[in-house]
């Protein structure tokens, strides 16, 4: 399964959009936080988990999804939210804690909810699995179309919730795909020290479902494997477990000194940055022109600038609105 030219353009555009957004956020994040770093200060307070480097997984999977499909994501959700089509203005405004944000400032960057495109995320490791399985059950019970994808990190595969959700999805043969983003680190603990198996796809055997590992942080390879799994789910053949090798170019959160990284790892990761690699392939193998890609990159930068402007110009929420929306 090979992406069409339009799909390739979509994948590249969304990878660049996510990267530009995070580069911009990472600059704004330090406003008000220098010379003394205090997480509570600045226009973007709180923890900030960047996904740069992991964009191939988001676009390789979401290229197969439409708004009616369901995605649950993690505490590191920006690339997936963008690839799922979450409204960028409202998403950035939420990250800024503004009244115009997705939830009017009640959620923040780890709690982005956009029901219009069936996107949700959560700050707790492995917590998105249950709701994704439940949404898949909802579609199956009602005979409605739709596949649910839970994105998790490699560390989440060691949570009890992972086992429960995978078993439930498999025993009920639900239209569900679990996509593990293996960035090889759980904050400071390497996968080799936390996980008894080198690759989590082998755990699929425990649920009697297909498991696939995709090496190389390659959006085209991810596209191919995810496409098969999602088609399988749509056909009613049940869930699939996919683990994708990917790289976290930044720390666990902004401010992470990353002293746990082996010497030279960061340099190697940046040398393998998936965006320039895809760019080169689009030019060399898929007939894209330099002008086309420059235009796409410019459009992404403009879109990010507009979203940031929207967020900055938006009003703070009224403090007393904190007391609303507890119940439906």
């Amino acid at each position: 399964m090979t992406p069409s030219r339009d799909e390739l353009a979509w994948m590249y555009r969304n990878m660049v959009l996510s990267r530009r957004l995070e580069e911009t956020i990472s600059k704004i994040y330090f406003e008000g936080k220098t010379p003394v770093f205090n997480m509570a200060n600045g226009p973007i307070p709180g923890e900030m988990h960047l996904s740069n480097g992991q964009e191939p997984v988001a676009v390789g999977v979401c290229a197969h999804l439409t708004a009616e499909d369901i995605v649950t994501a993690t505490h590191r959700p920006h690339h997936q939210a963008i690839a799922k089509g979450v409204d960028l203005d409202a998403m950035v405004a939420e990250i800024f804690g503004k009244a115009t944000g997705l939830s009017g400032g009640r959620g923040g960057h780890m709690h982005l909810f956009d029901p219009k495109v069936n996107f949700a995320c959560s700050g707790i490791i492995a917590q998105g699995l249950g709701p994704a399985v439940g949404a898949a059950l909802s579609r199956k019970l009602r005979g409605l179309p739709g596949v649910a994808v839970a994105f998790i990190g490699d560390g989440a595969a060691n949570q009890g919730a992972f086992h429960e959700a995978m078993n439930l999805a498999a025993v009920w043969k639900l239209p569900f795909v679990c996509v593990i983003e293996d960035n090889s680190w759980g904050i400071s603990v390497p996968k080799s020290a936390s996980t008894a198996v080198a690759r989590n796809d082998v755990r699929a055997a425990a649920y009697g479902i297909p498991g696939h590992y995709v090496a190389g942080n390659d959006p085209l390879a991810i596209y191919e494997v995810a496409g098969e799994a999602i088609a399988r789910a749509r056909a009613g053949a049940g869930p699939t477990l996919i683990e994708c090798e990917t790289y976290r170019l930044a720390g666990h959160f902004m401010g992470d000194a990353e002293a746990y990284r082996p010497k030279g790892e960061k340099e190697a990761l940046f040398a393998a940055d998936p965006i320039p690699k895809m760019r080169a392939r689009l030019l060399a193998e898929f007939g894209f022109s330099e002008d086309e890609l420059v235009a796409a990159e410019g459009a992404a930068a403009d879109r990010v600038a507009a979203a940031i402007r929207f967020a900055r110009d938006s009003a703070d929420p009224r403090p007393e609105d904190a007391l609303t929306a507890v119940f439906a």
Binding site: G107, P115, P131, V133, G134, A135, A325, F327
Partner: protein
Amino acid sequence: MTGTIVKSNERKLTIARSMAEALAQEMRIDPTVFVMGEDIGTLGGIYGNTRGLIEEFGPERVRDTPISETGFIGAAVGAAQDGMRPVVELMFVDFFGVCFDAIYNLMAKNIYFSGGHLKVPMVLMTSTGGGYSDGGQHSQCLYGTFAHLPGMKVVAPSNAYDAKGLMTAALRDDSPVVYMYHKGLQGMGWLGTEPGATVHVPEDSYTVEIGKAKVVREGRDVTIVSLGIGVHHALKAADTLAQQNVSAEVVDLRSLVPLDRDTIRASVAKTGRLIVVDEDYHSFGVSAEVIASVVEHDLSVLKAAPVRVAYPDVPIPYARVMEQFCLPNPAKIVAAWAQMAA
């Protein structure tokens, strides 16, 4: 209830049967309602509250689950957000320890995290209570634990009429409702059953409004506030007190969230005295909240310091004499009055 004249139109049901009836009636009119939990299918629920459902609605809508509370409660949240109205059963409330993340970090928070754009219409049914020597992991009430955390409505019926009406109301609510039923009220013979919980239940569907307490016995001298099985202890104590010429008013909270503070305050304003009966732990719980509702509102109505009859702050012991020593009962309520009146 021996000696009571049974009226010809009376239709007495246990709480178990009234819960199952409410579920069945709502499942007939709303195809998005479905039930998941351990042993809720063929067995009909350990406590009988899903009996008959699988026969009528089949195993797709009445789903026995693996022993995976985190998995299926989390799944219910996702199904609710996707437009269904799932009902899940946590067999014993004590088991919340294995799945509280799905309950309070997901179920209770996602409406808020979405800024009110999402509904999470689901019901979490769970059994509470001890008194039958099931030990400290199968006997707790934990009302205060759930009621403390924002984002969940919490109800706890004391009789079959309220049980049906609260269940129907919960099924129609767009927010998550924790439905806490007491094992000693279920009408399951093997648990020992409070006969006062088995009352007339209309056959037609009806709702009991969530967030409304009820004065179940009027009185002048003291207000006894309770919920679940404690209401029956309070009514028995009120009978004893009446023989001493003390007129006790009994308030059945029925809901903990929202808490009907107005009904509590109005009753205490009338009687001037307050006893709170709660099978949940003594400290940091429902009993303190009820007292705070009165004293932070108007201290001047009180003629005496309020008294709590609650479970001591110890894990629940197994030995019958030890557990019975710890549990609230009518005699303790009568003694509380004596202490208050002294």
